[in-house]
Each structure stands twice: as structure tokens, then as C-alpha cells.
């Protein structure tokens, strides 16, 4: 109690120096929470968007399908297993056929993936109902990135070319019936969505699919199938890896901030041991052990961390709360991030992040405060009373 009381009084007595340290520390505290909150928000937002638009409740893949090897795509299709057909009939899953093809917007060839999807499916958030037209021309949906890259617009007719199951080239004009606004690049870049039945017909792959996407909203019994199941975690692995690689940058940023803040604390403590030698000597003369004197100075340092957290909470938490409401407007080239983020990023500040960061700041501050104080262990009371260093 004496230790705490004396430490608090010393801090109050130090005045501006204390407040400068506290403010620097509180900046670091908030910066760490903000960067981590942004990253977590980015991760959750991207994961949510991917789950809604692509992953849903998981996917059964044709055994030959390997999204990382386009050369295998030619063989990655087959009749849908019976157990999956039942799910599809119960609207608990939807099949997708994927074949390679080319598109010729403005006379230039671009390699694309032609994806066939059931126009009436509601498993993934793709506006597939636009594909349910009675038009003679094959309707197609593309994403906003694809539209931007190819210059295609709604109502445009464009030629696509593909090879059917026997390897025969064929071509046909399709009509862009909808440009979907999506933040998920993996259903957008280089992809054209066609009605499943139509694509099966074009490729002579009737009743076949490359994958079956399971509903994420229905509780389904465990299903065993010849097609391996890819659960949500596996399908989001790329995203998680990408976020982890991006978090390295933010980690370096906050380590740098913490280092600067801790430098201020360390500096204060080193100076304190020199400037307050006489006080240290007096405390020893009054009967304090060296360790108790050290504990006073350590608590002083630790209190910097506690006050910084409190001060940061006072001015920072309203800001963070505002952030979570209005989001962080992202620059137009956000696509270069490589994963799904909307026009605004909404940071997430879970209580565990706030408490964890607060605890980290307090513990690190206390440790950094303690380090320079070991000089006191070597300080003779007589030298300290004379105000001399050793």
C-alpha cells in the first residue's frame, strides 16, 4: 500500500513528464488496437463475403478438381453422386460446372473460366436468377472487376469459345444480362457465369458438375461421398494465410510503436535512478530494502501503463466506436489486396483484443520499467544519500 501510494504521489509530482509518457503510451495502445481491429475486421468481412458468395457450408469437389492446377480442369467433371443429388433436390446444395474457355471482348482473346450454376439456386449469394431468361441467346453474368477489365456492359453480346468433353472447339455468342457487384474476387476475375443446364449442353456434360456447394444455413447430417468434402476452414485457408501475411506488416508497425513508447518509459526510469538518488538513499535510511525501493519505481512505471490504458479509453474508445459504425472508406484500388473487402472496411474490436492489448501494454511497461532499476541493487545507501552515482 505504501509502495502504491508513494508511486502514485511521485507520478503526480512528476507532472508533465508523467503525462507525456502516458500520452505516448496511450497512442501506442490505441494504434495497436486499431491496426488489430482493422485486420480482424478485414478478416471477418472477407470471410463473411466469401462464405456468402462462394464457400457457403462447404463444397464437395470432383476428385480430379484442383483449383491450383488449371491443366487438370479438363478432367475435373463427372456425374454428380447420388447422395449429393438428393441434397440438390432438397435445395440443400447446388452444383457448379467449371470448364475453361475464352472470351473475345473487342476482338481480343481472354482466357476465362466458364461456370455453370443453377439459375434458381439460393445457396450462394450470386444473382443467378438473372440467368433464368427465355432468351434464345445464352445469358451470362460477370462480376464488376471482370466488366471493368473487359469493358463489357449489360446487354453486350460477346463470343465465347470452349472445348467440349471430346476436346472439340466450339464457339457461341452470349449476352451479358447482369454485372454483379461483388467484393469477392474469386467469383469475379476471369469468370463468366452461365446457366448450368446450358453449359452442360454446350460442353456435352449433361448431369455433370465440378463441385457441389452445400448450404451454409441448413443443419445437414454428415454425408460421405466419393467426392471429397472441403469444409469452410479449408476453403478459407488461402484467405487466412493472406491475412496472416498482411498482419506481419501491422505487427511490425505496432512493435515499432511499442518500442518508441517503451523507450520513453525506459528513459524516464534511467533518468529517475540518477536524478532521484538522494530520495533512494533516504528511503533506504528510513528502513526500506533495495527491493522495496525498486518496487516503488517499478509500480510507478507500471502505473504509466494503467493510466495510459485509461486515458486511451477515454479519448480512444469513442473514436473506435465511431469507426465500427461508419467504417473505413477504402481506396478504389482495394482489389489489389487480393481478397474480398467492400468499399468500406468495418473494424472489429472484440473485448478480448482490447483487454489483451491493455494487459500487454501494462505488462510490457512494468517489465521495461523494472529493467533499468537493477542499478539500485548495486547502489550503496551512503553513495545514494550523497547523491552520487556508482
Amino acid at each position: 500500500m505504501v509502495t502504491l501510494k508513494l508511486a502514485i504521489r511521485n507520478l503526480i509530482g512528476a507532472g508533465l513528464r508523467t503525462w507525456l509518457n502516458v500520452i505516448v503510451l496511450s497512442f501506442a495502445f490505441l494504434a495497436i488496437i486499431t491496426t488489430q481491429g482493422l485486420l480482424q475486421g478485414m478478416n471477418e468481412q472477407a470471410a463473411r463475403a466469401m462464405i456468402e458468395a462462394e464457400v457457403a457450408g462447404g463444397q464437395f469437389w470432383h476428385p480430379g478438381y484442383d483449383p491450383y492446377d488449371p491443366l487438370t480442369l479438363e478432367e475435373a467433371h463427372g456425374p454428380i453422386p447420388q447422395e449429393l443429388l438428393e441434397l440438390i433436390q432438397n435445395s440443400a446444395a447446388t452444383p457448379v460446372l467449371i470448364i475453361q474457355g475464352s472470351v473475345y471482348p473487342g476482338g481480343r482473346m481472354r482466357t476465362v473460366l466458364l461456370k455453370g450454376i443453377d439459375p434458381i439456386q439460393e445457396i450462394i449469394a450470386i444473382p443467378s436468377h438473372f440467368l433464368a431468361t427465355g432468351s434464345q441467346t445464352t445469358p451470362a453474368i460477370i462480376g464488376n472487376r471482370m466488366a471493368r477489365n473487359t469493358g463489357l456492359q449489360i446487354g453486350d453480346l460477346v463470343t465465347i469459345q470452349w472445348r467440349d468433353r471430346y476436346g472439340t472447339f466450339d464457339a457461341q455468342d452470349i449476352e451479358i444480362v447482369q454485372i454483379m457487384q461483388t467484393s469477392v474476387p474469386t467469383i469475379d476475375n476471369g469468370q463468366i457465369w452461365l446457366p448450368l443446364g446450358r453449359l452442360q449442353e454446350l460442353a456435352e456434360m449433361s448431369g455433370e458438375a465440378t463441385m457441389v456447394i452445400l448450404s451454409g444455413t441448413k443443419n445437414l447430417p454428415a454425408i460421405t461421398s466419393a467426392w471429397p468434402f472441403q469444409n469452410v476452414d479449408m476453403l478459407l485457408k488461402d484467405l487466412n494465410d493472406m491475412v496472416a501475411s498482411k498482419s506481419l506488416g501491422s505487427t511490425i508497425f505496432y512493435l515499432l510503436l511499442m518500442f518508441l513508447a517503451m523507450l520513453a518509459i525506459f528513459d524516464t526510469q534511467v533518468l529517475a535512478v540518477f536524478r532521484r538518488r538522494k530520495e533512494i538513499g533516504t528511503l533506504m535510511a528510513l528502513g526500506m530494502t533495495r527491493w522495496r525501493v525498486i518496487s516503488i519505481f517499478t509500480v510507478e512505471g507500471g502505473i504509466h501503463g494503467v493510466v495510459a490504458v485509461l486515458v486511451g479509453a477515454v479519448y480512444g474508445f469513442p473514436l473506435l466506436w465511431y469507426f465500427t459504425r461508419v467504417g473505413w472508406a477504402l481506396p478504389s484500388n482495394t482489389d489489389s489486396y487480393g481478397f474480398a473487402i467492400g468499399e468500406k472496411l468495418f473494424p472489429v474490436f472484440p473485448i478480448s483484443l482490447i483487454l489483451g492489448t491493455a494487459l500487454l501494454v501494462m505488462i510490457v511497461t512494468t517489465i521495461v520499467s523494472f529493467l533499468p532499476l537493477q542499478r539500485i541493487l548495486k547502489l550503496k545507501p551512503t553513495a545514494a544519500l550523497r547523491g552520487r552515482a556508482q
Binding site: V2, N10, E279, A285, L286, G287, M288, R290, T382, L385
Partner: protein, 240 residues
Amino acid sequence: MDDHILIQTKDMQKKFPMGQSELTALDNINLEIRRGEFAGIVGPSGSGKTTLLNIIGSLDIPTSGSAVVLGERIEELTHRRAAQLRNHHIGFIFQTFNLLPVYNVYENVEFPLLLLNMTAVERRSKVMDALEWVNLADRAKSRPAQLSGGQSQRVAIARAIVKRPEIVLADEPTANLDAENSHHILRTMENINQEIKSTFVFSTHDEKVIRYLHRKITLEDGRVTADKKFNGDLKNNGNP
């Protein structure tokens, strides 16, 4: 050792390293100081007065010989035990007062009692008694920065005697004070000595202090050259 002897040194020597050589600060000190004495260690600057007080106060240890304070051999004490000895039994008064600037007068005086884990009621009573002795009860809320030199030293005295220690060590207590304040301080300490029977040991070369001493131990170049006791104080016995 006689129960009444609180401080005893035998063939005590203290040397400090000075570059390649050593400086002998105290040499062959043999002293006995009894309970309730009002003794002064007198001598010019550099004669070893403060070093002797530091050893008695367990802030330092002798290089050779022995120093026994309240039955404890100073040279054998651990840091923790030495701190306990100071905490429970020894009060210090410094030339530069050494008050804790962030505490007010009351809290400065209360500080040694906090280290003794006394209850708040007990502390309050003792602190107010001590402030009454030094006539500063009305300045209890003042900060050290708001006090004069004489008042600051009186606070330091109150802090030293508040726990009623068996030994009070005062290192040049009047060196920073004018004559009037010095006399006031010395009279205060003399009264306290008579009232609470603490043993007072001063280091001083101030003639004003010397006149109040009941025993005068003269140090020159680290050696005791004279040790005189008086029945009353030197004011009544004439200047030796």
C-alpha cells in the same frame, strides 16, 4: 555487553579505495555509547564523522574490527536485516533534511510508521505527538517546498523520532540553518532526548551544537583524539 550500551565499536577501521591506494577514513575506533546519551562526534571536514555515523546507522560496514549496534554486528548484517534495524530502531536526521517532496509534512512524518505497518489510528496519534514536539502541528498539510530550512529540519526531526527509536543519528543537523533555528532545533532535540530517552548521536563541527552536547567525541583524521563527558550540557560546564 552491558544492556545499557547501545553502540560499541572495537578496533574499527574503514578504508575507501582511492584509485590504486586506499584512504583510511576511520582508524582503530573504540567507542561505547549508552542508552539515552546526547553525544556528538566532533571534528573538521574529512575527519570521518559521517562515515562513523553511517556505520552506526548500518548504512555502511567497517573494513575491519567490529561495530555492534543494539546487539547486532553491523558487518554481519544482510541488506534486509540492516534495513529492518534502521526501520525499527534508528532514526536519521540529515544535513539537507531529505524530506520526500511529494508528501506533505504529516505524510513525511508518517512514512516510517507506514513501513512498520502500524494502524491508521496508532499512526495518527504518534504523528501528531511528534509534530507537537517540534511545534509544527499547524503545518501538517504543508509541502516541504513551502517550509523554511528550520521548519524542514524540524519535520526531519519529527520523522526521525516519530517511531521512538532507540537511536537517533543526526549528520550535521544545523549546518544549513541560521543561529536562531539551530538553537531551536537543538533545544527541541534535547527535550526529546529527555522525554523519550532515545540516544542521540550527532556529527558536527558547528560550535552551536557542541555547546549542547553531553558528550563530545573528537575525531581527527579518522582517529578518536578526545572523548569527554559532562554531567549537564556544555552550556553549564563551560567550554572544554
